[in-house]
Amino acid sequence: MTHPYPNTFKEISLGPVVVKNRVVFSAHLTNFAEDGLPSDRHVAYYKARAEGGVGLIITEELSTHPTDWPYEKMIHGYAPGVIEGYRKITQAVHRSDTKIFAQINHNGAQGTSRYSRLALWGPSALADPLFRETPREVNEADIDSIVSSYAACAFQAKQGGFDGIELQCSHSSIVRQFLSPLTNRRSDQWGGSLTNRARLMLRIIEATRESIGNEIALGVRLCGDEVATGGLEIDEAVQIAKLAERSGMVDYVNTSIGIATSTLYAIEASMAFPPGYALYIPSAIRQGVDLPVVAVGRFKDPASIEKAIAMGHADMVGVVRGLIADPDFVKKAKSNIATSIKSCLSCNQECVGRMGLNRWLGCIENPRTAKEYLPKKEPVLDSNNALGEITKAFAVNRLSNRSKVLVIGAGPAGLQSAISAFNNGAQVAIVERRDKAGGSLALASKAPYRSELSELTRNQLYELRQNGVVPTFGVTADLSLVNSYAPDLVVVATGSLPTIPWWARGFDTSKDEGLTAVSEVSLVLDGKSNPSGRVLVFDKLGFHQGTSVAELLADRGAEVTIATPQLSVGTDLGITLDLEAWMLRAYKKGIKLETEKVVVGLEGEKITLLTHTTGETVMASFDWVVVANHPLANDSLYFELLGNQVKVVRVGDSLAPRRAVNAIIEGDLVGGLLK
């Protein structure tokens, strides 16, 4: 049988460097650095991806200059102490015959002086829309300093054992700020014509190549489209790639889309964007240059990678989130067991989302991501004595690893508990009240543009099925059922229940004449009610629950208003980069938005809304109100079992209703109870 991905597994030469396959773990932030230095987390994190078979790793950006410190946990590539950390990383990666390049960068005005306490540098004294700090317009001496800082930083990286250097000239870089007419307003030799705007990039290429010699590779990462009015677009990006090629010093071109501080949603697109949405960029650049070109943009399965290469759109493909979720992505594709890949959902909650919040990187479905540095069997918490705490939190002592574990509930927490218990040697059974797995996640994935959430459940079920564990559906657990299993440990993962707001009599399944009917988001998604006509979605949560249901009902023809006590609708959608696209769709679907509102009463068809910032109240008339509020932990079974002989723990929403990642982490901790 021929291999399904023959092009993906052909080697390729990037200048002097031969890479064994076409998959690149492209540069991305991790927030693993400590005091500006690479940490053990970095080493273990990159090592795991190298062991997973990826051809080329490009590190997160290494800062070239003290004026560049845009976020707290950045690697100071200019600092004298970094080389030792570099060596640890490169040696760990090289052991798996994976190549590793260092990305070096100066973020220019896309930064803050908060950490460095130094003025920002930029091509023009124009504040970045995110950071909002006016930079110093650099003079000739400053430009010399920047250019030599790249050369020095690259030299340190070479000493640290890297196989190549990538110059980030794309989404967050002083080089792109010079390249783009949006941010470069200079009238001297560094501004105006493309030749002038590209002068800094070419100077840096020249200085870096001179500093690193010809034994290691040099690449540039270019922004193909800033997705901003008046910004760089693909035609000019192709010209820039040609200029880079013409220097004769560059070995490959990597690509990106968007500006990190104003159009980030385009760079790390969520599941609302189609896979491969940015492929037009490498495709166009590849037609303009002979250098190998790297594509990026939500490539989450081996087939789409193979296709992009086979069709000539790109020579290599960057897969970041796919490898964050599953470090063995490439190995599994190579062994033709792609179905076992733990596919990325592009939910952006723990990777992109945590980066913006200055926290270490994670993954909603892989609790081991970023915890590769911890011993394999230990729980993955960073708390200093996590195990003791957790054992206490679960009110049980460690059990023998031959135990029988009964998991009640096949939502994300239950399935993850089953996985971790099985992996720690237990004999596992799962019972589920409903006729399918997934719990509240299965409901959430029914909303428009949210279907990829269900892959989490698919991945969990696949992993369990490989081990012969299959949930029993349609079984409601009670004490006698639990006793019939005679388990050593019961894991209660029974999820949550909707909460009736104080101003409502209860939840309705249909609307009565003259009365506003009341429902709740999970009930709507579950088909328990089907609101129509004039619908108010009252959203206290600020995450996807409210906006998803508003959109679903608008799609079904309802006239939808979404109101929230917060200052904006869908506050937390901003963190996962879903807000922009949702706003666009909400406009098209005629969804009305109301902020700073609290429901303070419902009588007949009149609902009273208080604007809490002014104290004014208004009465409005709706056929339905759908609430997105905090559910209640469904913990009655847990407390029932607690009084009996059996050992019992609870995880996920039945402990406290929160997000999927909490369910996964707690499920994973169950394995830690077995020794």
Partner: protein, 651 residues
């Protein structure tokens, strides 16, 4: 002064009535308070404060409210070090310990937050786990062992937080405690248990409480009528109670900015003090920054002592200076650098005292790698400073006080530059205090000032002959890089600082690219001369950066009550004589004509000459003249240069 008089606190004594209260610093690393943390608190102890309370440490791992929060079990070395300093300076050192409950975070522990009942915090919107009895016992034991650790380290006592981000408060209040067990029936039970467990391990030490006397939630929270007797009851075994206000809906009320008057809690603390009837010392907390106010609070019987935390951040030597008759750096209650509850982990500091929080490294690493450094001083050098804004004045006074001969040039009739303009206009703080402070120091120093004296580019070379020349010419409002460039009826928010204000307008658009205190101020100022004010921002919500000063919700309420219209997700650009207003995620476009547009924060440096990299010319740019930023940047740069010149003299 009564403030200077000692006060008996339990079995110990405070040498004066001023207290440095517990607050977040972000100076710890990996939950360990290290050298920087110690240096910050040590400098306040050395400054002569009567009582210092350390940053609250979590009693155990179930609480990790912010990344750099100290954890009790890592604190012994730091506490011991401070206790030693405190003994040397006769300072009563109290150790802050606590648990934030549902007002913490699960982001770092990745464990559920713990609370009496599953009620989500209004800001995080995350549901906590309702505490089970065994967990309550764990927490009680943790308070006890934290007390033992603090006393073993040599501290004078413990302060328990029953107010701000507090698990104990959440048990006391019906807003957050809906339990049906004994902890719900008797809402003070948890607090009582903690207090007696802590007391039992204190020995001769002091037990202090920090309380809120009004949850500011009349629909369901506790008010003074309930809280005063409750606190008096709880404080039975306590020696000191510090009075604050606020709760889960109003956390910013604990440390509000300048919109609240100084000592705004004085009536509440007076009531508590009367109810206490001498059983414990009552301390007032809340925006007291002036010694005179503190004195009148004590003198008038509103409280026995006063917390002056922000004043002591601004000037660690406040007390020493007052005792010596010197003028301390006066806190302006701007809250712009000392409130550090932000995911980006800002280090505690002060807009007027950039060295605060950076006691061990006042000059940033790499500063003189990116800036010209003074390299020589001729004999009898005269330091010339052009521009008397914050950068110019700070440099002038710090050099003059170190013995340099300084000449300060100002083109206006009065000194002060931007600081004078903003103190007249009241942008985000009581800036006139800072202006007065600098003017007094200039007066006292041997500084030659030349007002009404515009320095021209041609004068520069000659001035630089006499010694180092500093250009501190500030910045001006400018649309040169704005989307509104070329629009005829455009002004910058900087232009609003000039008097008089613009003439009456029917409608004004405030283009807000900042979302901070300056934006709120611009909107409120515009409402003074315009019938209608429209705030235009590309952000999802107005004033998106104001949470950092605690003024977000108040500012929105003020703007709403002025009838300001908010256009969020909206952009503006000049189209010839008109302005195009466009919604970011829709095809909606509107063209308006002739209305005034005020753009917030649009500034460019005012430069006299182009300063090149020629080291032999001793000409330096500082403050907004280098790049338009904040007053903190201006002061920091002035201090960096003044230290560099002092080093030159020393070598």
């Amino acid at each position: 002064m009564l403030l200077d008089q000692p006060l008996q606190i339990g079995k110990l004594r405070a040498k004066n009535r001023i207290k440095f209260g517990s607050h977040q610093t972000n100076l710890s690393r990996m939950r360990i308070p290290g050298a920087r943390w110690i240096a910050y608190f040590r400098s306040r102890i050395e400054g002569g404060v009567g009582i210092v309370v350390t940053e609250e440490a979590s009693v155990n791992e179930s609480d990790w409210p912010y990344e750099r929060s100290p954890l009790t079990k890592n604190c012994t070395p730091a506490w011991s070090s401070l206790a030693k300093t405190a003994k040397e300076h006769d300072c009563l050192l109290l150790i802050g310990i606590g648990h934030c409950g549902a007002e913490g975070s699960s982001a770092f522990s990745q464990l559920p937050m713990l609370a009496p009942s599953p009620i989500a915090d209004v800001v995080s919107r995350e549901l906590p786990k309702a505490l089970e009895e065994y967990e309550i016992e764990d927490i009680l034991a943790a308070y006890e062992s934290a007390t033992l650790a603090a006393m073993a380290a040599g501290a004078g006592g413990i302060e328990l937080n029953l107010a701000y981000r507090s698990l104990i408060r959440s048990f006391l209040s019906p807003l957050t405690n809906m339990r049906s067990d004994r902890y719900g029936i008797e809402k003070t039970l948890f607090a009582t248990q903690i207090i007696s467990r802590v007391r039992s391990k204190l020995g001769q030490g002091v037990l202090a409480l920090r309380v809120s006397l009004d949850e500011l939630a009349p629909w369901g929270g506790l008010g003074p009528e309930e809280l005063i007797p409750m606190v008096v009851g709880l404080a039975d075994q306590c020696d000191l109670v510090t009075v604050g206000i606020g709760s889960i809906f109003t956390r910013s009320a604990f440390r509000p900015d300048f919109h609240s008057r100084e000592a705004f809690n004085n009536q509440l603390s007076r009531r508590l003090r009367e109810a206490a009837n001498g059983k414990f010392a009552t301390y007032l907390q809340g925006s007291v920054t002036q010694i005179a106010v503190a004195e009148s609070v004590c003198e008038g019987g509103d409280a026995d002592g006063v917390e002056m935390t922000r004043a002591l951040i601004a000037d660690a030597n406040l007390i020493k200076k007052v005792q010596a008759g010197e003028d301390p750096i006066g806190c302006v209650l701007c809250n712009q650098a000392c409130l550090v509850e932000d995911v980006s982990n800002p280090i505690i500091s002060c807009q007027l005292n950039p060295d605060a929080g950076y006691e061990l490294e006042p000059t940033p690493k790499g500063f003189f790698q990116t800036r010209l450094k003074p390299t020589r001083l001729i004999k009898n050098s005269i330091v010339s400073i052009v521009g008397s804004g914050p950068a110019g004045m700070e440099l002038a006074v710090s050099l003059a006080e170190a013995g340099f001969e300084v000449e300060l040039f100002e083109k206006d009739r009065e000194l002060g530059g931007a600081l004078r303009r903003i103190s007249n206009a009241g942008v985000g703080g009581v800036w006139c205090r800072s202006l007065t402070h600098y003017l007094a120091r200039i007066e006292n120093g041997r500084i030659k000032t030349f007002t009404d004296n515009e320095v021209l580019p041609d004068d520069i070379a000659q001035m630089a002959e006499r010694g180092p020349l500093f250009l501190a010419t500030g910045s001006v409002g400018s649309s040169c890089h704005s989307t509104m460039s070329g629009y005829h009826n455009w002004i910058s928010s900087s232009d609003l600082l000039k008097s008089p204000l613009p003439a009456h307008q029917e409608r004004v658009y405030v283009l807000d690219n900042k979302g901070d205190h300056e934006s709120a101020w611009a909107v409120e100022t515009a409402a003074c001369f315009s019938d209608e004010v429209v705030l235009v921002t590309a952000d999802p919500s107005p004033f998106s950066r104001l949470h950092k000063t605690g003024d977000l919700m108040p500012a929105i309420s003020r703007a709403r009550s002025l009838g300001v219209k908010f256009l969020t997700f909206t952009e503006m650009r000049a189209k010839g004589d008109s302005v195009e207003i466009s919604k970011r995620f829709s095809p909606q476009r509107e063209l308006v004509q002739d209305h005034m547009v005020i753009e917030v924060g649009a500034r460019e440096s005012s430069r006299l000459i182009e300063v090149d990299g020629n080291q032999t010319r001793q000409i330096f740019e500082i403050g907004d003249c280098f790049a338009p930023r904040t007053i903190q940047d201006a002061i920091r740069e002035a201090r960096c240069y003044s230290r560099a010149l002092l080093e030159l003299v020393a070598t």
